[in-house]
Each structure stands twice: as structure tokens, then as C-alpha cells.
């Protein structure tokens, strides 16, 4: 037996859970297609006819894709597993609840990151240049973890009905894209609008992406990164603490 139940041991087990979730919940044709198409059409409906340049559109488009894909499946994984009674099986294994949550977050992160590569590749093919590729890649990874963690927060209410969780998630996800500088640059928002935008983690990723692609940003980069990191930690802590309370009520 190779178990000391320390952080490395539990991390290995959370990767196992993530691989399982990707295989069962994410690696499905309709999920991938919907993950791409939905944000594309939503984005196009707000951008067509507004004479936006590609270098302005791409950061917002990328932010939307990353946000929607990383938060699309993670809210419903726990309700699905509870409904299928596989959650009980998982919880009886030698894994902490935090390990299960990290596994779900990792799966969602991997899905969001993989799908977001599509607009990045399209942008590069169309001649867009990224000023600092490493920083940009790091921002995508950090934002994907942040959004995946937020997706997990949506699944906290102890309902095993995926539609209910989706409704809760939609009530947050849609307003967020309108206050995050995707369609309107933050500098052009009124002061109160800017104040509201700061409560959205998507704002900071979009700002980093604009800096990397357009060379200009609303906030200093280190503020954007710190804010994303702060939101990630907050979402993870909330998810882990609150799931401790609600998870037994799902069984």
C-alpha cells in the first residue's frame, strides 16, 4: 500500500477523480460542441455590426469562452453523481472531500483550458500577436482554475437536481459577462460601472488578455493577477467549507 494520506497522495487521487470526470462528463461530443458554440453565438450577437477590431474582440471572446466552458459542467457534476449514487461510492474511498472537489475543479480547468485554445489558435492564425506569451498562458491557467472553482461553488446548494443548479449558475454567469469589460472597455464605463466590474473575476482576466493582445490595460497587471489569485482562493475555500456542510445531505 502506497499511502501516507498526505498532500501528494491526495493530489494523485484528485487527478484520478479528474480523469474520471473528464471521461464521463466532459469528453462528449455535444458537451464540447456546445461549450464552443454557445459563447461564440452569444458573443457574435453582441459584436456584429459594431465595427470592433479583431484585437479588441479576441480578448473578450477568449474570456467568454474560458468563463463559460470552465463553469459549464462543474456545477452539475456533484448533483449528477449524487443522483447516480456514485457520490456515496466516491466518499467511501480513502479520499478527503477536498480531494473530490479538487478533482472536479481540475477536470473543469482542463476542459476550459483546452477549449480556450481554439480562439487563441484562430487569433494567432489571423495575425494577432501576443506580447508576453508566458504571462498570457499563465493568466489562462489561473483564470481557468478560478472559473472552475466558481463553477464548483454553484453546486453547493444541496439539491441533486441538475436543472436547479444550472438555474443558479445561469443567474450569476450571464450578468457577469456584461460587467466584465468584454463588450465595453472598462475605461469607457461610468465610475459606478467600473466599481461593479471589480467584483467579477472575469474583469481581471479580460484586462490581462487586453494587455497581452492590445498592449493596454485598465489596471496594472500585478493587480489583475493578484485579484484572480484572490478570487481563486476565495472560491476554493468557500467550496470546500460549504460542501463539508451540504455534502452529507446529498447522500
Amino acid at each position: 500500500m502506497r499511502s501516507d494520506f498526505g498532500i501528494i497522495d491526495q493530489t494523485i487521487r484528485s487527478f484520478t477523480i479528474a480523469r474520471k470526470s473528464i471521461r464521463i462528463f466532459y469528453a462528449k461530443g455535444p458537451v464540447i460542441v456546445f461549450g464552443l458554440l454557445f459563447p461564440i453565438f452569444l458573443f457574435l450577437s453582441f459584436t456584429i455590426g459594431r465595427n470592433m477590431t479583431l484585437d479588441f474582440m479576441l480578448p473578450g471572446f477568449l474570456g467568454m469562452i474560458l468563463f463559460f466552458t470552465a463553469t459549464s459542467i462543474s456545477p452539475v457534476v456533484v448533483p449528477w453523481e449524487a443522483q447516480a449514487r456514485t457520490l456515496e461510492r466516491l466518499m467511501s474511498c480513502p479520499v478527503r472531500l477536498e480531494t473530490i472537489i479538487m478533482g472536479d475543479v481540475l477536470a473543469s480547468f482542463a476542459f476550459g483550458t483546452a477549449i480556450s485554445l481554439v480562439p487563441v489558435v484562430i487569433g494567432l492564425a489571423l495575425g494577432i500577436t501576443v506580447s508576453s506569451p508566458i504571462l498570457f498562458a499563465f493568466a489562462i491557467i489561473l483564470a481557468a482554475i478560478c472559473f472552475a472553482s466558481l463553477g464548483n461553488v454553484f453546486s453547493i446548494p444541496p439539491t441533486n437536481i441538475p436543472a436547479t443548479v444550472n438555474m443558479i449558475a445561469a443567474a450569476v454567469r450571464f450578468p457577469v459577462i456584461f460587467i466584465s469589460g468584454i463588450f465595453i472597455p472598462l475605461d469607457e464605463l461610468p465610475t459606478w460601472g467600473q466599481a461593479i466590474s471589480y467584483i467579477s473575476p472575469l474583469t481581471y482576466f479580460t484586462d490581462i488578455a487586453r494587455n497581452s493582445i492590445q498592449g493596454q490595460s485598465h489596471l496594472p497587471l500585478f493587480v489583475d493577477f493578484l485579484a484572480l489569485l484572490g478570487f481563486t482562493v476565495l472560491f476554493l475555500v468557500v467550496a470546500m467549507k460549504m460542501h463539508q456542510r451540504t455534502m452529507p445531505r446529498r447522500i
Binding site: 494520506f5 447516480a84 447522500i251
Partner: protein
């Protein structure tokens, strides 16, 4: 570290709101023992098992598994679990479900593969190992769940109604596997509604009712001390008036052939639902349940005269009643084609104990 005990439970309690699901229960399971955990639906069996496997938290009391606190990672690592409902990942094949479990228990891959092959062969699933579990029958899924519970070669197995709702072949395969595991020295804690299964497999059984432990003993010990009442099946060569038979010394209750069938059905139903009725199987003298109007009390107080030639007697004094039956048949010039004495069963003990406690409440 675990003093020869695989499970130790002391004053374990769990509330759901105002409802006390498990009420200060205490028991121990020895290492290598097959421990039956019986009770009607809603008695607290599954809640107890769930606390022991760490799926839900206890409110009060102490519980340890293999010397480690119940629900701790070390306890879980040493345990195998078959929950009540089938819960393999239906989008994965049987083989992939086993490999997933092996990874979650961090069983080395080469060991897991070997173990998986052995288990799949033993449980008759090898031919279908690559099929998605969604295509499996209920019996196959239950067998797969048992294989999943055994993939990490656990020291203790928790089985929550592993044979419930299964066809005969699947139930047999699981029971056979449990017998072999017991021979190998594994500790097994088993909940079941099937009294014959519990009596056949268990070294000791505990009976829980309404969250409280009402008895812990060997199946035979429980049958004798709690069952008390023996059954005597008799068939005469001619019809006999039931009222006369009901007055024989030692008769607690008497049933006709039709009533025997009805009673069996009702007993099975009661064992499943945990409902109680006044009197009941093995009830004291004069406590006669009303079953289809075909039962005659010891004082013979039944309106319509009924007769037949097959009867079942319930008695707490077998010798006295057998002697009385022999004397009666001689005196009446009757022949007894069948005289079958059945000792008290675990089922009788179960029904009696769960009824008594229900009445006390």
C-alpha cells in the same frame, strides 16, 4: 491496536432533525467474523453503515474500524464497501470501474489487473468486462459492486443488502463469494432482509429497531432465546375440527393450510416494512393475530366451525404438544401423515424482537 476487534461502536448516535435515526448503539465485531446487521426498513442499519464507512458524520458516540476512527482515511483504505443501491459508473465498462477503484485506493496497477481478472472470473463477469455497465443487469451490477469493493483487498467489507432484488444465480454467486471471503479471514459486516441468508452466513447477528440495538447473539442463540416458539406442521388422514385441536395443551396458536400461506406472506412483509401488529408470531398464549379469520385461539373462541386435515401449531412447549397430538390422534383413530417439528428460527426471533420493542415504545 484494534484488540482483535474489527469494529467497535460505543453510544453511536445520529439525528436527522427531530428524528433519531441511530440511538446510542454499542456493539463490537471481531476480526474475521461475519456479522449480520438486521432490522426492518428505516431501523437505522444503513445510517449506521454510512457512519462506519465515513459517508455521513456521527452526532455522538465513538466508532472505530480496524483500530482507526470510523471515516478516517486509514479506516477507509482498509475497507471495502458495497452500498445498498447499485452505483457503478454506468458510462464506464466493468473493467474500467474496477481500475478506477484500484487507482482511488492506490493499488499498484499490476496487482489491480491481476486482482480484477480473478474477481471478474469468480463473479461470472469476465466475458462482459469490456461492456459498459449501463448494459449490465441488476444482478451483474451488484456483482460488479462486490468486485469493486474487493479490488483493494480490504481487511473488512461493509455490505448493505448485497443480494436484495437479485435473481437466484446472482444471489448465490455473492453468497458463495462471502463464504470464501470469510474462510480467507476477512471481516464482513452485512445488512440483509433475508433471514435465511443471515442465519446461514453470519457468525453473529445484531438486530436494530427504530435506531436501537435490541439484540446481539449468534443466529442459533437468538432463535432459541428470542424465538422461543417452535412450529409443528401436522397432516391427518381425515379432516379434523380446528376448535378441538386449538384446545390441546401447549397450543399457542393454530393455523390452517390457507392461513399458513397468508401468514408467511405477512411475516415477509413485516420483516421488510418493520410494521407491527398486536400479538404476532410467537406471541404469548392468547395473543392471537387475526389472519384471514382462519386462526383459532387457544381458547377455541372462533365463530364458525372450520375443519381440514393440514395444520400448523405454534408452541412454547413442544414436548407437551407433541404428546397431546399423539394422544389425540390415537383417541380419535386418526393417522398423522406428517408430524414435522421446526425449531425456532431467526426470522421468528427477528419478528418477535422488533415487535416487542415497537410495542414498548
Amino acid at each position: 491496536m484494534n484488540d482483535g476487534f474489527a469494529v467497535r461502536v460505543k453510544n453511536l448516535t445520529k439525528h436527522y432533525g427531530q428524528v433519531v435515526a441511530v440511538d446510542h448503539i454499542s456493539f463490537e465485531v471481531k476480526q474475521g467474523e461475519l456479522f449480520g446487521f438486521l432490522g426492518p426498513n428505516g431501523a437505522g442499519k444503513t445510517t449506521t453503515i454510512r457512519m462506519l464507512i465515513g459517508v455521513i458524520r456521527k452526532d455522538h458516540g465513538e466508532a472505530s474500524v480496524m483500530g482507526y476512527p470510523a471515516g478516517s482515511l486509514r479506516a477507509k483504505q482498509l475497507s471495502g464497501v458495497v452500498p445498498e443501491m447499485a452505483n457503478a459508473y454506468i458510462d464506464l465498462s466493468g473493467w474500467d470501474n474496477l481500475m478506477l477503484m484500484a487507482e482511488l485506493y492506490r493499488t499498484p496497477v499490476h496487482v489491480a489487473k491481476k486482482q480484477a481478472e480473478v474477481l471478474l472470473h469468480a463473479l461470472g463477469l469476465y466475458e462482459r468486462k469490456d461492456s459498459k455497465t449501463s448494459t449490465y443487469s441488476m444482478g451483474m451490477r451488484k456483482r460488479l459492486l462486490l468486485a469493486m469493493a474487493l479490488i483493494n483487498d480490504p481487511q473488512i467489507l461493509f455490505l448493505d443488502e448485497p443480494t436484495s432484488g437479485l435473481d437466484v444465480q446472482s444471489a448465490r454467486a455473492i453468497r458463495e463469494m462471502l463464504r470464501n471471503l470469510r474462510k480467507e479471514g476477512k471481516t464482513i459486516m452485512l445488512t440483509t432482509h433475508n433471514m435465511d441468508e443471515a442465519a446461514e452466513l453470519s457468525d453473529r447477528v445484531a438486530i436494530i429497531n427504530r435506531g436501537r440495538l435490541v439484540a446481539v447473539d449468534t443466529p442459533d442463540g437468538l432463535s432459541i432465546t428470542a424465538g422461543r416458539v417452535s412450529l409443528i406442521d401436522v397432516s391427518f388422514d381425515q379432516p379434523v375440527d380446528e376448535k378441538i385441536l386449538a384446545r390441546l395443551p401447549g397450543v399457542n396458536r393454530l393455523e390452517t393450510a390457507q392461513a399458513i400461506e397468508d401468514a408467511e406472506k405477512l411475516r415477509a412483509q413485516m420483516a421488510m416494512t418493520g410494521t407491527s401488529r398486536p400479538g404476532g408470531v410467537g406471541g404469548g398464549r392468547g395473543q392471537m393475530p387475526s389472519l384471514s379469520g382462519r386462526q383459532i385461539s387457544a381458547d377455541g373462541n372462533e365463530g364458525a366451525k372450520r375443519s381440514g386435515n393440514r395444520f400448523r401449531f405454534y408452541t412454547e412447549n413442544t414436548t407437551q404438544l407433541v404428546n397431546a397430538l399423539v394422544d389425540f390422534s390415537r383417541a380419535s383413530s386418526l393417522n398423522m401423515n406428517i408430524l414435522n417439528v421446526r425449531p425456532p428460527s431467526l426470522e421468528d426471533a427477528f419478528v418477535r424482537l422488533t415487535e416487542e420493542k415497537s410495542r414498548e415504545k
